[in-house]
Every structure is written in structure tokens, then in C-alpha cells.
Symmetry: C2
Subunit: 389 residues, 2 copies
């Protein structure tokens, strides 16, 4: 009993954490419930029921499958569903008209053939990347509706009326979903995408800040850096691509809202995202380097070492400031003018470092090839890891 | 007209390429058509139709939504759908029994309340990562069926018979899907996952081979390395995480097949995948380093330079061989014994490099900090890129 109780409290805590991480999740759950209850009223109220008949259940079905977390996703699914149903219903009725010309025996064979050809062609079209990204759901609904209309046309007497009822109930379902997502605590994919870009920039900045204070600072001892939190912060940036891609896909369906105009340049966010990931990837390389290779004890040339160290500190802190300013600029949607001096300082420090390093001919000669060697050695370590797994 | 023709041929070539890249896609499209045609026969054949009534369209619906590219995905969706429908139908009938106790007026209100609570709770459960990964579709079908049963119970006279018909038609749909996916040219997610691991290892190896021949070789001039194909080959490895995750998820549903026993350790592939991506990330860092920083002209110490260069060449070629052997071992599912000597040689070369570098005290002192400096300077460049976007 104790064990069970522990498990239950553990589970409840987990639920609490999920809700706390993003309170809009609770709102979303209630919104789904609300939309379903609203749409089921079309069934309970007798005059409405008489109009739609058993087709009213299609409204319920539509709400369940169309209702998504963000406005963009709901819009994309809803429009896909509505237009795909319309198109497929027309084609289905057309197929039926052709099929009845072939008599009692020919009809099912011809209908089966039509279903086979259209289903195969539509399924194949889902492998085209552009269709997969934006119309995948629509194609699947197209196959569904076409098959349903073509197949049931063999038995149903009032095909046109059936198609009409289905279409209007689906429209009711889609409209219910859209009203609930847009007017009750809306979750905009565009806003999330925007925030994600700012948050990721902040993460990169805090990596650089951590690098400056924990690793390049004056008093840093030889203690192990492994397990320091700042060395983990860039990892989530590295894996942000799928989230970003789907948010961007949904944002393109959303109408203008808040400070976002219609046709906001969503693709820009993908570009920034890709650059962020490249930056995070360089950070990953630096992380593995500083955690795996031990520093040699200083014997000579403390001056040069000191110089390089200072340059590093300067570069990382100025870059961090520039990133923070950029992230602030994104949040407030202003031009990032205040980031300019920090960026310039970081670049200046890089130039200084280069000239310092190239002054000493002995080192300059070897450094390039030695750095490559260090990075290749890194690859050997990685390979060994793969080998050992 | 000319323009239109050009577009059409362009589109056709694209389709051809998609089909050529993976011929199983055509097979899959035909399989979907086949399954749909098979299941629609249950509608055309009169004795079957009499048994199922209008519910027969549910079999068609099930086939359209359950049929997926890989066996694992189809199994996962099919089982999710069948069990979720069963559970929801029971609960729905139960909710109906409770609701009728409250009389004519109380019934729709209570039903609406039930729908609201269950839909909200089930929607919230989809935010739990474990449920999201494996049972997302099941939960959505659960909400769907429960709402349908609860709502239509208000009007339908023969609820139990309706539920029974629905369930048996869904089972027919699922069984049709499974038979077509498993027995007609099956596409196993486990096999794809397995191949992906081997292909990714090969990609990493060809990066290292390219590095050796194009960048560290004897005769390499100062020509720009940008645009060399081997510098792009690791990029697809970096972005392989979503594909791998979903394949692994599906592979866990698949029964034993071919050389894969039941309960194959699919999670191992995720581990290898993560290590592969780390390796690719280090490659990315090396790539940006060698493409952006110019080599200084050799003035002195050609001997040391030469030594380092040779060590690099050794490390990269031996690692590449080890990776090739590993990939071959995965393909043939044998122990990678032949990779051992290559790995050992690569590690030995690394050790030698380390000792070469540490012999020269002047360089050893500065090298560590200088490498960090180079990597930090890299980060400044990245930041600047983000800034410039």
C-alpha cells in the first residue's frame, strides 16, 4: 500500500509539474471539453437534430480530430479537412455517376477500381515533401471522404443529401473549434516561435557568461568542469529543430494577431534558429574540449598565457552581452542598436587575439595545424565512444 | 504553354526521383489502395452488409487512418485504435446508464458534463511525454469514441448493438491493414532503424576519409575547402534525431522478423545515434574551423608541423577504417572484431600526438589556452552571424 501511495503521489507531482511548466495546457484541455460539449448540443436540441439526422456525429468527430494546441495547427487542420472533404465529395459523386452507367454488375468493380487508383495516387503524393509539410492531413481526409462516398453510394439512396449533411456538419465542427481556439485564451504558434528564438539566444548568452566566470576567470582552480550547469544549457538549443519547424509551419496559417502582422516573415525564425544551432554546435565542441583535456601546468610565458586568457574573457563576455541585447530586441520587437558596441568589442578582441598569436612566430607556425590536430583527436575520442557502446 | 509544359515535366521528374529514392513508396501506395478495395468489399457483398449495416463504413475509415508506411506504425495505430475504442465504448455505455437515472431533462446535462470532464482529462494526459510518445493516437480515439457513444446514446435505441457493430467493423479494418502491411512487401521500422545506424556511421567515416585526402594530404594546396562535398556529409547525421526517435518508437511495436528477435534492444540504437550526433557535432566544429581560418605560411619548424600533420592523417584514416568496420558489423550483425586494430592505431596516434606536443614546452604551455581561444573566437564569429541575420 505504501508503495502504491508513493507512486500515486509521484504521478500527481508529475502532473502538477506539467501543468506548472505551461498553465495554458490546462486551458487547452478545458477548451477541448468546451468545444465538444458545445457541438454535442446540436445533437441534444431536437430542431437541430431533425435537420442533420445521424450526420450530427460528424461534427463531434471533427472537433475531436481538428482541435489542436495552437491556433495555427487548428486552422491548418480545419481548413484542410473542410476543403479536402468538399473536393472528395464532388469527385466521389462524379465517380458514382460514371459507375452506374456500367450496370448492376459493373458498378462495384468500377467503384473498387476508382478507390484503388485514387487512394494509391493520393498516398503517393504524401511522400512529396511540400505536401507532407502543409497538406498531409488534407490528403488523408481526401482519401477517407472519397472512399466513403464512393463505397456508400452503392447503397445509399439520397447521396446528394448525405454529402450535403456531412459537409455542413463538418463546417459546424470546424467553426466551433476555431471559435474556441481563437477567442478563449488563444495559443498562437507565431508567438511561441518568437519566444523560442529569444529564449534560445538567452541560453547561448548564459553559456558564454558561464564560460567567462567559471572557466576563464582569475581564480579558477583545476577543479573538474564536468557537471557544471552552464555546460548543459546549449544542448536544448541543439535539439530545437523539430519544434521550430512545426511551429513555423503552423504560424504560416495564422491570421495577424497582437504585434504580428499578417504574412509575418516566419521563415526568418528558421534562419535564426539554424544559426543558433550552429553556434550551439560550436559550443558543444568547446565543451567537450574543456571537459576532456587537462590543462598543462604553467612553466614559462605566463605573460602570453595571460594575454590570451584576457582576450578570451573579453570575447565571451562581450558576445554574451550582444546576445542578451539581441534577445531583448526580439522580445520587445525593436532594432537591436544597443548590441552594436558589444559586438564590435567582441570582434576587436578576436582581432587582437589573432595578432597576439601571430606575433610569436614559433607558435603561429604550429598553432593552426595543432588546433586541427586537437579537433581531430577529439573525433578519435568520439569514435572510441561509438566503438565502446 | 511552353512554361506549363516545363513545369509539368519538372513535377514528373520530381515524382520519379521520390519513387526512385525508395521504391517501397510505390508499393506502399498500392498497398493502401489494395486494403481499401478489400475492405470496401464488405460493403458490396450483400450478406456481409446485412450483418453490419451502415457501420461498415467504419471499416473503411479505420483503414484510411490506420494504414501507415512501416509495420510498427500500423501496428501501433491499429492496437491503439482497437483498445481505445473498446475501453471508451464500455465507459460510454456506463455513462449512459448513469445519465438515464436522472430523467428526461437531467440526461443531456449530465451527458454533457461527462463529455466535458473526460475530454479535458484525456486531453491533459496527452501532455505527459510517455503517453504522447506511445499512446497519443489511442487517447484521441478514446475521446472520439466516448463522445460519440455518450452523445448518440441520447437518440439511439439499440446502443449495445451499435457499439458491437462499430467494434467489429473496426477490428475488420485493423486486421485488413495488418495483413496487407505484414504480408505484402513489409516495411519494418526496426530494419530501417538498423540501416540508418549503419548509414550514419558510413557518413561519419566518409567525412574522415575526405578530411584525410582533401585537407591533410601531402599535396593539398591553399585552395578553398568550402563547397567540398565531404564537409556536408555529416550534416544529415546532425539532423537525424527526429527520424530515429520515431522509428524506434514504431520498432518497439513490431513482432520479431527476419534476423531481429522479439524485444530487440531498440534503445541501443538511440544511444549509438546520440553518440553519432556528438561526433557529427565535433565534425561541424572542425569544418567551420578549417573553412574560416587561413593557414599561416610555414616559416620555421617544418619538422614539428610535419609530425603533427602525419599524426592527424593517421588518426583520421584509422578512425575512418574503424567506423567502416563498425558499420559493416552492424549490417552483417556480427561482432566488430576487425575494427579493434584500427581503433587501437587511432588511439595510439592520438597519444603520440599528445607527447609530441607536450615535448616542446614553449608550445605546450600556450596550446591549451590558445585552442580554447580559437574555439571562443569561433563562437564570436557565430554570434556575429546571428547578429547579422
Amino acid at each position: 500500500v505504501e508503495k502504491l501511495r508513493g507512486r500515486v503521489t509521484g504521478f500527481l507531482n508529475k502532473l502538477k509539474k506539467i501543468a506548472k511548466d505551461d498553465p495554458r495546457r490546462i486551458a487547452h484541455s478545458c477548451k477541448v471539453g468546451l468545444a465538444l460539449t458545445l457541438v454535442s448540443f446540436s445533437y441534444y436540441v431536437t430542431p437541430l437534430f431533425d435537420g442533420f439526422g445521424v450526420s450530427a456525429i460528424w461534427a463531434v468527430l471533427t472537433v475531436v480530430v481538428v482541435m489542436e494546441y495552437t491556433v495555427g495547427a487548428t486552422l491548418s487542420k480545419g481548413l484542410n479537412r473542410a476543403f479536402a472533404t468538399l473536393l472528395a465529395a464532388f469527385l466521389g459523386v462524379g465517380a458514382h455517376q460514371i459507375a452506374i452507367l456500367f450496370g448492376e454488375k459493373g458498378e462495384p468493380i468500377l467503384l473498387g477500381l476508382f478507390v484503388f487508383i485514387l487512394a494509391a495516387a493520393a498516398t503517393f503524393s504524401r511522400f512529396i515533401p511540400e505536401i507532407k509539410a502543409r497538406y498531409d492531413y488534407g490528403v488523408s481526409i481526401f482519401i477517407l471522404t472519397f472512399s466513403l462516398v464512393a463505397v456508400s453510394s452503392y447503397r445509399a439512396e439520397e447521396l446528394i443529401q448525405l454529402a450535403h449533411q456531412r459537409l455542413s456538419t463538418i463546417v459546424i465542427g470546424v467553426v466551433t473549434c476555431l471559435c474556441t481556439t481563437i477567442f478563449v485564451i488563444p495559443v498562437w504558434a507565431g508567438e511561441d516561435l518568437h519566444k523560442l528564438a529569444a529564449v534560445n539566444l538567452d541560453k547561448l548568452a548564459s553559456f558564454l557568461e558561464g564560460l567567462g566566470s567559471e572557466c576563464l576567470g582569475e581564480k579558477v582552480g583545476s577543479e573538474s568542469l564536468e557537471g557544471k550547469p552552464f555546460l548543459q544549457v546549449h544542448k536544448s538549443v541543439l535539439n530545437s529543430k523539430p519544434t521550430e519547424d512545426s511551429l513555423c509551419n503552423f504560424a504560416r496559417w495564422e491570421p495577424g494577431h497582437g504585434r504580428f502582422r499578417f504574412r509575418h516573415p516566419w521563415k526568418q525564425y528558421l534562419k535564426i534558429g539554424a544559426l543558433n544551432r550552429r553556434c550551439a554546435s560550436s559550443m558543444e565542441a568547446l565543451t567537450t574540449y574543456i571537459t576532456t583535456s587537462a590543462e598543462t601546468q604553467a612553466t614559462k610565458e605566463p605573460e602570453l598565457r595571460q594575454k590570451i586568457r584576457t582576450a578570451c574573457l573579453e570575447m565571451s563576455s562581450e558576445s554574451a552581452k550582444a546576445l542578451r541585447e539581441l534577445s531583448k530586441a526580439i522580445r520587445t520587437m525593436t532594432a537591436p542598436a544597443s548590441a552594436n558596441p558589444h559586438m564590435a568589442a567582441a570582434i576587436a578582441a578576436t582581432g587582437e587575439l589573432r595578432s597576439t598569436l601571430s606575433k610569436d612566430a614559433d607558435i603561429a607556425d604550429v598553432l593552426h595545424v595543432a588546433t586541427i590536430a586537437t579537433l581531430v583527436a577529439e573525433l578519435v575520442v568520439r569514435t572510441q565512444e561509438i566503438f565502446g557502446s
